[in-house]
Subunit: 273 residues, 3 copies
């Protein structure tokens, strides 16, 4: 049986049973768009069922782990824009659902800065390692959004209220030392060796009885699973309203204006040369 192919991820199924799944759009800092979410969800759904996959290793190529959702000029006021937004959010929600239900070990190797959904989704992975230059930013308030990927539930439980709220309600960027300190990340591994070290750890885990791993992960997660699904629902309902709010639309337009201005200036500077 052949392996599924993905356009935006570099993937390898090692003979050990470790499946490496790496964000692979380094030219745009591994930003997320609808297609990326869709591939991510499909990969999780496939890997959950294919017996050849024993451990899922999530990582990124290039300087960034993942810069989060790619931001567009909002067009939720048109019928088509509105419908497209619904579809996008359902796919995003599907990634969260797939992470909540994923029955095998998922290890995340955060190889650089992470933003937004790329941060919140880490709390649904089982184990997180990160490089010394990794940073963790959830700029939801700046954009008039709200918390997602069950971070409303997972962040306070992992980090304690104070740091969770600094991230979710105040948008503060956390260093990797802080994230290790509060238990979000297990430890830092140097940029040079993170791939090989986490592959080795994943391979060791792939030697364990898949059934023992599955049963234990289920014991750990079964009580929280309904709460997590419920939170995913509630967050997505709120996000639907948030992205249609005048504040959020204004913030997004301002963000895209600034990006376009920077790009135009760079091109003007280039054409002058």
């Amino acid at each position: 049986m052949s392996l599924p192919k993905f356009q935006h991820f570099e993937t390898t199924l090692f003979s050990s049973g470790v499946y490496e799944f790496a964000f692979n759009r380094p030219h745009i800092y591994n930003a997320l768009n609808q297609e990326v979410y869709q591939e991510w969800r499909d990969a999780l759904l496939w890997a959950a069922k294919d017996d050849r996959v024993k451990v899922f290793l999530l990582t990124g190529r290039g300087k960034y782990y993942c810069s989060g959702q790619q931001l567009y000029r909002p067009n939720v006021h048109t019928k088509e824009g509105n419908a497209a937004d619904e579809i996008r959010r359902n796919i995003t929600k599907g990634v969260v659902t797939a992470l909540i239900d994923f029955p095998k070990l998922i290890i995340a190797a955060v190889n650089g800065p992470a933003y937004g959904f790329a941060v919140t989704s880490l709390a649904l992975c089982d184990v997180v390692y990160a490089t010394p230059d990794a940073t963790f930013t959830t700029p939801f308030m700046k954009l008039g959004f709200c918390s997602e990927a069950c971070s409303s539930y997972t962040f306070p439980r992992i980090m304690g209220n104070s740091k969770a709220n600094e991230m979710l309600l105040m948008g503060r960027t956390m260093t990797v030392e802080e994230m290790v300190g509060c238990g979000f990340v297990s430890r830092t591994i140097s940029k040079d060796t993170i791939r090989q070290e986490t592959l080795k750890l994943a391979e060791e885990a792939a030697l364990f009885s898949p059934e023992a791993l599955k049963v234990t992960k289920d014991l750990i997660r079964h009580m929280e699973r309904p709460l997590l699904h419920d939170m995913n629902d509630k967050e997505m309902i709120q996000l639907h309203t948030r992205v249609r709010s005048p504040e959020s639309i204004a913030s997004l337009n301002a963000f895209v204006d600034a990006s376009e201005k920077r790009r135009a200036e760079r091109q003007a500077a280039k054409s002058k040369l």
Copy 2:
């Protein structure tokens, strides 16, 4: 519309929407009594509703953040004393209720040592910063009391069992380093700059969409809110019994005896000069 006035707090509503609310009885280390609790509760209830308030900043004036409940010689054996005790506890309970339900961002800037209710109530604030000389003491067992302000629920969840139980069951004083280490406090800020730095952070948060903040805080807290109210009820029922117990009455009397003796000695020493 004018602002409410408080006798025991220094308050400022900045044009940014930050409402600074500072314990202001430094001569008695910002101790809490019935009137202070009442003003605190009233301020929270008002600030929750007044649209001019976007962020609530809780802090203290002087060397201490707050030395906790002012301890009196217990008179729960008289009908009047008993009734007064009931009223006092209902007001205290009302502060906890108001903190659980508070819909906006509350930041605490702990400017020095904190005791008892001043510590437990911090766990119901969203974000906590503290000065390097801050200490955190919950001497409930020494006084024959029990845990309150939902600390039975919040402390183990934030700090882990072991440190929470050291505080609640053994009365151990924690340093600010330990409280940062276990995630209760986000970080230390020097005594000289804590006011200005936390005002700045609060002002930045006051720029965010109030609706986005409200929705996200609600996502974070909605699951726990009924559990917290239930815990507040249960703790207050137990506290009612505890303060009437012979051990607690003996401890309180011994405490007040010792205080009065120290005061008498100080006055005798003065009159000798």
Copy 3:
């Protein structure tokens, strides 16, 4: 009334009301077998009720705190072996039940390395101190077992997901620094003084009102108690299946083979001298 006697524990009831209960099979690293579990459970059930006991201090004699379950060549395929396994697990489950329900303060003084059940059961104690050489290992996956003693519930809540899963799903040994860092252990105390220091801390707590301690511990634990009992049930049902699985039987046999080989080599080396 006389005190219960235990063969595998060194026990002292101090006049303060502190009951010291120390694993005392140092020649086999305080390993656990059916008799040890039975005595442990009986001691907890007795101490819960005897008013002379105010604080329970759990510790070990020798270099190790406790090396966990003594591993036998599995014989679950015979009728007798199967029945014996059931009995053993019911007794183990009884220790967990007794720890969940224990109404008084339990302090653990971890005097050296800890393995398996000796680690997971610490999370059901109220406060944990440990020596600098203590290590914490839960090799469940290596043996094809699953998480037990409610560690599926307690570990993620205390340590955060990432470190909990490293222990439970990947079998990583944690140092005492890491366990202090994540709040599992309150602090390290040197090997020379841990007994005397923890006895002193326990004695101070034994001076508190037993009723105040009982009420506060109950406030802290009452919400989680049904979840913990339910988790104990679920883990033990899964463990019943796990120990009968071919992978687990193969792992155990390999472990016992290796032990026997080492023992034979040591004896051969001795007889050569």
